[in-house]
């Protein structure tokens, strides 16, 4: 039955790239040891971890020493935001982020608000972009931390990390970027970008689930979330999952090699998808109409109920709202932030395409979508008058 599914939800999670899976298997059987163990077997695993750090460092063009291994971007985001805010409480208690951030960022800031920090929640423009004038106007002398995501997981907006970071750097503000959707997908040169903390998770770019990292620029200090010995410069304790780390490194290296081809492939598929859908009455794109990340297309359609649309689209696997909150059917707060009404937001479907997506699948998705809209409209008593 699973064979019939058309999976266009790569922004929620991706399968393992075959060579990543193969390498992980090798590590699991030949180097499954504890990298902290003081014997030859442990040192073999430690070498595997070092190798992974080098692969990750190459993707970002930085020093391999600068990565902390975590369980995913949720942990990286929390570690970065809670850790930086608390570490620099003396610098000020004002923080800035956006309304369109991932829940792992939003909820970390909400927690900090409860702890006595003050948070400015900036609204994006209709494309999902942070308006720089709004940003500059929000800065204060006691602003100590800014967190802005690189690629938005729901609508694909790519933020201008370079400009935002430069503004932060001039004012001694720590700059964190949630790079969960960007890592391994677009070029990110952390040697050139003014970024202090960068979060990533392997399962969004054909690496293993449960493996993430936080890049910490030199001289940036953060408080840990957890405690337990001296590992990882006391920033993150726990036995290193050598196979997951190996998979993260290998996925980074594969992603670097394939990045140009991946982007070309996705751009062409997204174009095909947009062309296929454009005939539908009352269709609108949520998010950037151009210059967005080509792996994500979010569309809404007038007068269609979202849950029924999702059901009518079966066996198409796509997301409504963010994958991570889709168990609730509240309209996406991201779409609300870019100005969509509740009723517009709840018909939104996020198509997210990936390395394995075929043109044939896009054709099928288009015809399923067109058929579903037509059918639901035929059932409907007509718009509310």
């Amino acid at each position: 039955m699973i064979l019939d599914l058309i999976y266009l939800d790569y922004a929620a999670t991706t399968p393992l790239h075959p060579s990543v899976a193969e390498y992980m298997r090798k590590v699991q059987s030949e180097a499954y040891f504890n990298p902290a163990s003081n014997h030859a077997a442990g040192r073999l695993s430690l070498a595997v971890v070092h190798h992974a750090a080098i692969e990750l460092a190459q993707l970002f063009n930085v020093n391999p020493e600068r990565f902390i291994w975590t369980s995913g971007a949720t942990e990286s985001n929390n570690l970065a935001i809670l850790g930086a805010a608390k570490q620099r409480e003396h610098r000020g208690k004002h923080l800035i982020t956006m309304r369109t951030e991932h829940k792992a960022v939003v909820d970390a800031f909400l927690f900090l608000e409860k702890q006595g920090f003050e948070v400015t929640w900036l609204a994006p423009n209709l494309d999902g972009q942070l308006p720089l004038d709004l940003f500059e106007a929000a800065l204060r002398d006691d602003t100590q931390l800014v967190s802005i995501m690189h690629i938005n997981n729901e609508i694909g907006t790519i933020q201008d990390i370079e400009k935002i970071g430069s503004i932060c750097r001039k004012r001694d503000i720590t700059f964190h970027v949630d790079g969960a959707q960007a890592t391994g997908k677009i070029a990110v040169d952390l040697a050139a970008l003014p970024v202090d903390l960068y979060s990533m998770t392997a399962h969004k770019f054909y690496g293993p689930k449960g493996a993430g990292s936080l890049y910490v620029a030199e001289d940036v200090l953060i408080e840990p979330l957890m405690f337990g010995g001296n590992q990882q410069h006391r920033m993150r304790p726990g036995t290193l999952a050598v196979d997951l780390i190996a998979g993260l490194g290998k996925a980074a290296s594969v992603a670097q090699r394939k990045m140009t081809d991946d982007l070309k492939h996705l751009s062409s598929l997204k174009k095909q998808l947009m062309q296929g859908l454009q005939g539908i009455d009352g269709l609108h794109i949520n998010g950037p109409s151009k210059d967005g990340y080509p792996g994500i297309l979010n569309v809404g359609v007038e007068d269609i109920e979202g849950e029924s649309l999702l059901k009518a689209l079966e066996p198409l696997c796509v997301a409504t709202g963010s994958a991570c909150n889709s168990q609730s059917l509240e309209p996406s707060y991201v779409l609300r932030a870019i100005g969509r009404s509740d009723i517009e937001a709840q018909s939104a479907i996020r198509f997210s395409l990936g390395r394995m997506t075929t043109s044939d699948e896009i054709d099928k998705a288009v015809s399923l979508y067109c058929r579903a809209v037509k059918r639901l409209r035929s059932i409907s008593p007509g718009p509310i008058l």
Binding site: D303, E305, S378, I379, S380, P381
Partner: protein
């Protein structure tokens, strides 16, 4: 697929509804609430409901509920409408508890349909 939020009855009623449409000139009821919209119309001969048609806008459970209602009451006597209860339909469709309110929209529409049928029969 395991753990689907929709049981097979919902799946069938939602995917293959055979009562979509309008009985032109027949008694009709329309109701909207909680973002759900339902229109029911009936073809009545003597006191028999020979035809039931619906249109609906809402989640799969509400669409399936209306379809299931039509399947159950088409062909029966007008009086039988009194027997309609939300409990059994919620059970047949395994409607999640938080959607109870939506099913009540169906109940309201049916009440309104009964009134329309009564008007229709009285006029005759």
């Amino acid at each position: 697929m395991s753990d689907s939020p929709y049981n097979p009855v919902v799946h069938d009623c939602f995917t293959n509804p055979i009562h979509v449409g309008d009985v032109i000139g027949g008694p009709t009821a329309y109701f909207e609430d909680q973002g759900m919209r339902i229109r029911l119309s009936a073809g009545i001969i003597d006191s028999s409901i020979v035809e039931l048609r619906f249109r609906a806008w809402g989640c799969p459970h509400i669409i399936a509920a209306v379809e299931l209602f039509c399947r159950q009451f088409e062909g029966r006597n007008v009086q039988d409408l009194e027997q309609f209860e939300t409990g059994p339909i919620m059970q047949d469709l395994a409607v999640p508890i938080e959607k109870t309110g939506r099913i009540l929209v169906l109940e309201d529409t049916i009440r309104s349909l009964k009134a329309a049928i009564n008007d229709h029969l009285t006029i005759k």
